[in-house]
Structure formats: structure tokens, C-alpha cells
């Protein structure tokens, strides 16, 4: 049996961070770290090399878009899956997120069921064939 996928969660809102953590666990994954800003997210991603990073867009130190671009630019982290969460729900917001290199974009408020589905889909997509 394959080991559970390893997921990094980053959101400056504690309640949302916990909610995402619970949803990720319900999806059958392991949360390797849950951090509150962009700089911590980048450091944790480089240290843990997770399969999936769930990033809030609006965070202190570095935005989710900046973290995403930095992950893509670093060969050690370029291969991980990235899911962006954001209060911005316009087509422009989504386009900016995908242009930064995200694999998926989920506007807030999201349903827990929807988040679990996305996490499972991305983990499968990111796993070696």
C-alpha cells in the first residue's frame, strides 16, 4: 500500500488553516506542515519536498502567487502540485493564479467536499505513473 501523500498547508487565517488541514486529512493525506505566511511556506516546501502545497493567495511576507512562482523556479520543488485558495473569485484572479504556475485554483468560500476532491485529484495527478 502506497504511503499517504504529503501535503503542506499555508494560510494566515488560523481557522482556515485548521479547516484545510482537516479536509486534507479527510482526503487521506498527511499534513507535513501548516504555516501562516509565505516565507514559512517556501522554507517548509524546500525542507519537506511535499507532494502538494495548498497556498492561500493573500499572505504576509510573500503572497501565494510569489511562493508558487518561487516553487516553480526551484528545481527541487518545481515538480510539486500547487493548489491556490483565494477570496478573489473573478476570471482575472483565476487567470493570475494559473499564470503563476498553480495546478488548480479554488475560490473562497469553498466547500469541504470540493476541497477534498481537489486534493485527491491533484495528489493522483502528481504521483509517478
Amino acid at each position: 500500500m502506497a504511503a499517504p501523500a504529503r501535503v503542506l498547508v499555508a494560510d494566515d487565517e488560523e481557522d482556515i488553516r485548521l479547516l484545510v488541514t482537516l479536509a486534507v486529512r479527510k482526503a487521506g493525506c498527511t499534513v507535513v506542515a501548516a504555516v501562516a505566511d509565505g516565507a514559512q511556506a517556501l522554507a517548509a516546501a524546500r525542507a519537506e519536498r511535499p507532494d502538494l502545497v495548498v497556498l492561500d493567495v493573500s499572505m504576509p511576507e510573500a503572497t501565494g502567487l510569489e511562493v508558487c512562482a518561487a516553487l516553480r523556479a526551484d528545481p527541487d520543488t518545481a515538480g510539486c502540485q500547487v493548489l491556490l485558495l483565494s477570496a478573489g473569485a473573478s476570471p482575472d484572479d483565476v487567470a493570475r493564479g494559473l499564470a503563476a504556475g498553480a495546478d488548480a485554483y479554488l475560490p473562497k468560500p469553498f466547500t469541504v467536499a470540493g476541497l477534498i476532491d481537489q486534493v485527491r485529484r491533484l495528489v493522483v495527478a502528481g504521483s509517478p505513473a
Binding site: I16, A87, G88, D92, K108, P109, F110, T111, A113
Partner: protein, 488 residues
Amino acid sequence: MTVLADPVATRLPAQPSPVAHRAVVPTGLALLGLAGLVVLLLRPTAPVTVTAALAVLGCVAELARRLRGQLAAAEELEAQRLDLVSRGQSTAEELEVATRMMRARAQTMTSVIDAVTEQSIIGTDPDGLIRVWNPGAERMLGLPRADVVRTRSITDFHAPEELDPDEPEGSVTDRDAARFAALVQAAREQGSDVRDWTYLTADGRRLTVSVAITPRTDDDGEQAGWNFVGTDMTEARAAERLKDQFVSLISHELRTPLSSILGYLELVMDDEEQPLTDEQRQYLTTVERNAHRLLRLVGDLLFTAQVDAGRLILQPEDVDLAGIVRAAEETARVTAAARGVAVIVEVPDAGLVVRGDALRLGQACDNLVSNAVKFTPGGGQVTLRLRQAWQHADGAVTDEATADATAVALLSVSDTGVGIPSGEQGQLFTSFFRASTARRNAVPGVGLGLTITKAITTAHGGMLDVESAEGRGTTFTLTLPLDGVPDS
């Protein structure tokens, strides 16, 4: 008062006067008459006397006749002269009137332009050299008219990076010409142009100015130059940016806690290991419903802000309006049933496809149906009808297709509800307006639904009409062209 000389009279050729005519008596006749008179005096009894007398009388008669003829000719010439003098005077008077009118018109134009102190009015020649500079321009840009007219180019007052982003090579004259060409390019191509430009003031400030550029022509229709009418929008644009930031902040600050509320509710309500009692589920369902209501309000506020900012973006596709109508009925079904309101749907079996944004058209239809249900007391009825019709050039919509008609979809939502007072119907589409019947009947809402519906309809090139009678009900009709929104 200026007294004009008689230019026509002085220009007329000299005419012989009647006196002169009278003096020119044919000398032959005069001599003959004189000879006869001499004979009569010297030989009054001679036989030749009768002949001489007759000759004298004949001469006198002939002289008199000729004199009368010449007198008549002279009088006719005098009449012609007087007529010419009169006409000359009329022409001079007309010229004076026209001159006065021209002066008055120029004075009016100057006074109007000078009276504009909140907008800059700058006129240039075809090459951009400033010829007109009103007090509004003086005030906005900080230079008096005397310092700029005929000496400065309008491009001197524009941020150069907006006119030559590529920093063209060449002489200063070439660069000025290129900048001016860039400034008027859109107006040259489209006949006029209105957009924001950055003006540079004499004291170094940068102003965001909405400038209307139009060509100016002379009396022969030839282009004489360009007009630039500018309104300082610096503060307005800053306020718009602030509003955008505020909306963005509100969006984030409201959506994030709503994410928590809805997310944790979902975890609790769907927890199979710890099922809720019916009572607990009922309470939490109420919390969830109200959280969604707040979420819709946030969405409506954001949407209204986007419309106000002119940033409503549609994603066109082929949309079956019949499906939209059925979905709206489904959405309203539970609420309508709870209120005892019957909802009837009449749509074509084959559907009716328009080109539009499915999400936004659904939102518009949902708003109308939700309103109809909210404003209809128990026992009432809401009817959703959809059919194709034809809109003619005069705007009339009929079932008859003609060459000039456009195919449209007519979507009407009728209710048997409380109605809208006629005096309030004109304000229905204004943001946050609530009809007195809504307040009196404590119908919930903030007054954004119809504003949004109208904005969506307009963005699709359609119309939203209302017919209502207080106490009898209301019908909203959406008229949408089938070819609606072109692909972006």
C-alpha cells in the same frame, strides 16, 4: 455710432443731369425758328409772313416735343440712379448687420470659452501649435494665455512617455511631430477620441485628465486644427482606486470568515460518526442558509462595484434560455412552496438559444424569479414565460418577422403580488432602492437585485421592462437579441 459713407453712390458713373439735357437743344431748329421770327418782325405784312409764322410754330412744337422726350429720359435715368443708390445702401446695411453678427458670434464664443474655468479648452493648429488657451487651461496648467499661444505646442504639456514610449530617434522637431501624431491618432481615425492623459503642470504636478479630442474645420470644411477639452480626473481616479481597494478588502474580509462558517458547518453536518439530532440539524441549516445569504450579498456588492467601474466581463457561449428558466424555477421551488406560491413555467420544448454568459443570465433570471416569489402572498402565482419574437427598427417587439427585424428572446416573469407604485417604477433599477411596498410588507433585500439584472441585460444588448399595478402584480420582461454578446 459709426456712419458709413455711401459707397455705392460714390462708385456710380456720372450721369448727365436733366438740366444738361435741356441745354442741349438742337441748334438747327433753333436757328430756323429764329430766322422765321426775324422775317415776322421786319416784314409783318409780306406774303412770306404766313410761311414764316408756320415755320416758327412748327419749330416751337418740335422743340417742345423733343424737350419732353429728353426730360422723360432724364427722369428715368434719375429713377435708376436713385434705385442704384438705394440698393447700394441696402447692401451696405446688410454688410454691417452681417459684420455685427459675426462680431457678436465671436464675442459669444470667446465669452463661453472664457467662462469655462473648470475644464481646459485648448485649440491648436494642424501641427499642435497652441492657438486657443482658456482660463480653465490657465488654472489647470498654471500658465497664462500670453505665455503659450503661438509659442508652445500642446505636447509640451503631456507626459512624454505616453506619447513616445519607444523614444523615437531624430531631431527635436521630428520628435514633436511624432508625439503630436500619437496624441491625435485615435481622433484622426475615429473622428473623435476621449481618454485619460497625463498633463504636466507648470509647477511640475502630474494630473490625470480626461481629454476629448476633436478636429476643427474652417468655413471651407478644411481641417484648421484640433480641439482638446480636458477635465481634471486626478481626484476622481484616486477615489476609484480607493473604492477598488475597499471592495477588494471587503471581499477578502467577508469571504474569509464565511469560508470558516460554511466549512465548519459542513464538517459538523456531514460527520457520519457523530450524527446530529433533527433539532440540531434544523438550527444549523438556518445558520447555513443565512451564511449563504451573506455570501450572496457580498457577491452582489462586488458585482455592482464591477459594473460601476465598467469592468463587467461576459464569457459568451450558446445558452439555452429554456434551461435557465427551468433552473430558476427549481431554485425558487422550495421557497415558493413554503410560501404557498405556485410557480408555472411556459417555455418552448425545443428550447431557445441565445449568445450570452450562462452564469450571468442565470443570475438575472434567478433575481427576477426570487423577487416575484418574495413579493407574492400565499395563494398567489408566479409565471415564467419564454418565447421568440422580433424587434423592429422602431423598437417595437412583435411576432411578425420582417426584413429590418432582429430575432429576440422574450423572457417574462409575472406575479400576482403586491405590485409597485407607479411613481416608484422609474427608480427600480437604482442601486439600493427599495419600493415602499417592499418596506411596508417587510420583504427582505438590499435593493441590488434589479440593478444587477438590468446591468446584465444591458451588457447582453437587451432591455428590461416592467409593468406593474399596485395590489395586482408585476411583470418584468427581458428582451434579449438572440445573437447577444459577440465573442471577446
